[in-house]
């Protein structure tokens, strides 16, 4: 009898809990009440301290609408607000769009170059503090204004803006001209005594922004550009190339595509990339190589009186992409010459890159600090040494060993 009563009570409690927890509530929020932002742009305000832009996804906007006149993607709309803070901007937008702004699908946070030069610390902490913003959304420093960047982000081969923003930075996996930098990584580097933070350098490619700079080596032109400078002829569209370098929360400089590649070689993040070097066999010709890391780059830091002595031992593996009717790549001598050329090309660029980030920007974006810290016993000693400040006194020794295997399908012609 007692057992039956117990069972009934338990059943009643279980049903009561299910009733309340599984049924819909009268005040529940659903997709009809929410406006999803896929990208946020932050600029210096003209009439207020901040100009914030939200690229909002239009539900059902991914279907073909047939129109292509707008520079903005048809499935999203950009709203820009002048405000004193990010949260007051969100509040103002909420009152305007009559839906609650939700940032849980935000894929990209764009800071304009101008804004980044003034310091982004407050915005960064505010964004990290927001539960809706995911730590995996990308950080882009735009060479144009953030609102212009968002307004001109027109997915060419993708219908959904959110997916477009998600996929765009991943091109670095096979180009190495930039790197996919997430909010979490950026914040971690920012709050760090071992390294400085960096972000994707972005811009809008238009006819007026195409690079006109004539360098001596024509083969260097392809990769020695930043975003907004490439020679791609296209309708206005997003272009991510190079990296934005920070000291603390302030932007201090920008790196080109080839410098971003050097950064990835040093930090062991290089997946695969293509470089073009001058042909050692025929003047005026070039040879393209497909590079990947053969072994992890070994970095070492020794602390000398004159400053940190940083050595990098780089081992690369390459395959030849360029072929013509006289390619003799089964000859060991030819391969050795080519390897020497590739080593020299990369060593020069690596030195240029390393001295640029240390002497010009004083920003340890490669995280050499983590190799220096083992010279200290306690945290206090490390903090007193002030690595991030002392990085500018560094001098480098780079050794590159490129192992050229062969071509792909063709070995010799």
């Amino acid at each position: 009898m007692k057992s039956t009563f117990k069972k009934h009570i338990s059943l009643f409690l279980v049903l009561t809990i299910c009733l309340f927890s599984l049924s819909g509530c009268y005040n529940i929020y659903n997709i009809d009440h929410l406006a999803y932002a896929v990208a946020i742009g932050l600029d210096v305000g003209e009439n207020n301290s901040l100009k914030i832009s939200f690229q909002l996804s239009i539900p059902g906007g991914s279907s073909d609408s047939g129109s292509s006149g707008s520079s903005q993607s048809d499935n999203s709309v950009v709203n820009t607000i002048e405000c004193s803070s990010i949260n007051s901007g969100i509040n103002l937008l909420n009152s305007y769009i009559s839906k609650e702004l939700n940032l849980s699908h935000c894929k990209v946070i764009v800071f304009s170059e101008e804004f980044a030069y003034t310091g982004i610390s407050e915005s960064l902490y505010t964004l990290i503090n927001n539960v809706q913003i995911r730590p995996d959304c990308n950080i882009i420093i735009s060479r144009c204004s953030a609102s212009y960047f968002l307004e001109n982000s027109k997915p060419l081969l993708e219908k959904l803006s959110a997916r477009y923003y998600e996929i765009t930075p991943s091109s670095s996996d096979y180009t190495a001209y930039t790197e996919s930098v997430t909010l979490s990584q950026f914040f971690s580097d920012f709050n760090n005594t071992f390294s400085q933070c960096y972000a994707i350098l972005g811009g809008i490619n238009t006819d007026t922004t195409h690079s006109t700079d004539n360098t001596e080596n024509n083969f260097d032109k392809d990769s020695n550009n930043k975003a907004n400078e490439t020679s791609i002829s296209s309708k206005a569209n997003i272009e991510n190339m190079g990296l934005a370098v920070f000291y603390g929360d302030k932007l201090v400089g920008e790196l080109t595509g080839i410098e971003a590649l050097c950064h990835q070689i040093i930090t062991n993040k290089l997946n695969v990339c293509t470089i073009t070097i001058a042909s050692p066999f025929e003047e005026g010709k070039t040879i393209s190589l497909r590079l990947r890391l053969k072994d992890k780059t070994k970095n070492k830091v020794q602390l000398a009186d004159s400053g940190p002595y940083i050595s990098s031992n780089i081992k690369l593996e390459a395959r030849i992409l360029t072929m013509d009717e006289n390619s003799q790549y089964l000859d060991e001598k030819n391969i050795a010459i080519l390897e020497k050329y590739a080593n020299s090309y990369l060593t020069n660029h690596l030195y240029e890159y390393l001295y640029k980030v240390s002497k010009e920007y004083n920003s340890d974006i490669d995280g050499f600090g983590k190799y220096a810290v083992n010279n200290f016993l306690t945290w206090e000693d490390w903090i007193n040494y002030d690595w991030l400040y002392n990085f500018k006194n560094s001098f480098f020794n780079v050794e590159v060993d490129t192992d050229i295997k062969s071509g792909y399908i063709l070995m010799e012609t």
């Binding site: 117990k6 539960v131 995911r134 995996d136 709050n191 071992f194 390294s195 810290v373 083992n374 206090e380």
Partner: protein, 370 residues
């Protein structure tokens, strides 16, 4: 006292559920705050201390094979000491579990239920614990037997998924905030293994009492491994972990973990495991509190006091005004109360009880008939 007897695995998981809950909340961060980059070294050091301590506790319990710490207190100082120790442990379990409950509910509220009042969430957990207690200790331990491995796997996946971000060089400077902070004042980090407080009550509950030693060592050993894994994961993957205070470092870790493009927001799955783990822990806490209540109050059944205990937990959980007070209780009150009550007072009582036993019993290996 007639208890439902539990097996060795159930006993090990009982010790583990306590530490796992503390790991999910703020325990790794507390340890990292105290020692910095030398925290892994500190955890290894305190676990050695803990195993030595545990060895002596097990030795001291040999004479009291069917007793818990409250019974031993009674043997030493009569009913007065029994009641004092009972009340101290009741207060300890109430404060610690209710603060843990409140802290978790606050996180749950911030992340998933911003519009739901905090008391509603607290009540939900307590309701489950009350029902579980009504079904009896067997149900609680059986449920715990399922939940604990799930959470262990859950945390292992979380640690494994951030492994790609590991920078082992972050273990330097090897002495962290200093030698003193790592080995002298850092020894107080032994509070992290609060699971040992349940070991004091374990003996009368065991089916196979001869396994008490192995149960304790395995339970604390796995706890040590998890504490070490959690601090290593946080230290190696986040540079900001030493300078920033998050709501829960493990939640931060799970949020940042890379599960590929297909599974982008798996933190809810982790939360589900942690919710079950907390429910199990609160049920066990209520079980222990009511058993001590029953013992010191000479009650026939513990069932009437289940509600009272739940209400007490509810009130204490809602007492802190906000995260500042919750963190104070967790960082200061929890730390020092664990050290004083679990590692000092209880140990002294065990030592004195053994001395008294030796004086009163002439045959040395005869067990106390309590």
């Amino acid at each position: 006292m007639n208890y439902t007897k539990i097996g060795s695995i159930e006993a090990i998981f009982l010790i583990l559920v306590v530490v796992l809950n503390h790991i999910v909340l703020n325990l790794p961060k507390n340890l990292l705050d105290a020692c910095g980059s030398s925290t892994p070294l500190n955890v290894i050091f305190i676990s050695i201390l803990l195993f030595i301590f545990l060895y002596f506790v097990i030795k001291l319990f040999k004479k009291f094979a069917n007793s818990d710490i409250v019974d031993v207190s009674e043997f030493l100082g009569g009913k007065l000491l029994r009641n004092i120790m009972g009340i101290l442990y009741i207060c300890y379990f109430i404060v610690i579990s209710s603060t843990l409950l409140r802290n978790f509910c606050e996180i749950l509220r911030i992340v998933y239920f911003p519009k739901i009042p905090i008391y509603f969430l607290v009540i939900t957990f307590l309701l489950v614990a009350v029902i579980a207690n009504y079904f009896g200790s067997n149900t609680i331990f059986k449920a715990n037997l399922i939940i604990v491995p799930l959470v262990m796997i859950n945390l292992l996946i979380a640690f494994f998924c951030v492994a790609s971000r590991f920078v082992p060089e972050k273990i330097f400077p090897i002495l962290g905030y200093g030698f003193n902070e790592t080995f002298i004042s850092g020894a107080t980090n032994i509070f992290a293994f609060t699971g040992i407080s349940y070991i004091y009550f374990l003996l009368p509950m065991l089916k196979e009492k001869q396994n008490f030693k192995s149960i304790s060592f395995i339970g604390i050993g796995i706890s040590t491994l998890y504490v070490l894994l959690s601090v290593v994961s946080l230290l190696f993957s986040f540079s900001d972990v030493l300078s920033i205070n998050e709501i829960s470092p493990i939640y931060f870790l799970v949020r940042s973990a890379d599960f590929g493009r297909f599974l982008q927001r798996p933190d809810a799955i982790f939360f589900l495991g942690w919710i079950l783990c907390l429910m199990s822990y609160i049920s066990i806490s209520i079980l222990f509190i009511t058993r001590i209540f029953k013992k010191i109050g000479n009650l026939k059944s513990r069932k009437p006091i289940i509600y009272i205990t739940a209400v007490l937990l509810f009130i204490v959980a809602l007492l802190p005004k906000g995260m500042v007070e919750i963190r104070f209780i967790q960082n200061i009150v929890f730390k020092y109360s664990t050290i004083i009550l679990v590692f000092v007072i209880s140990f002294i009582i065990l030592v004195l009880a053994n001395l008294k036993y030796k004086r009163t019993h002439k045959v040395p290996d005869k067990e106390a008939d309590l």
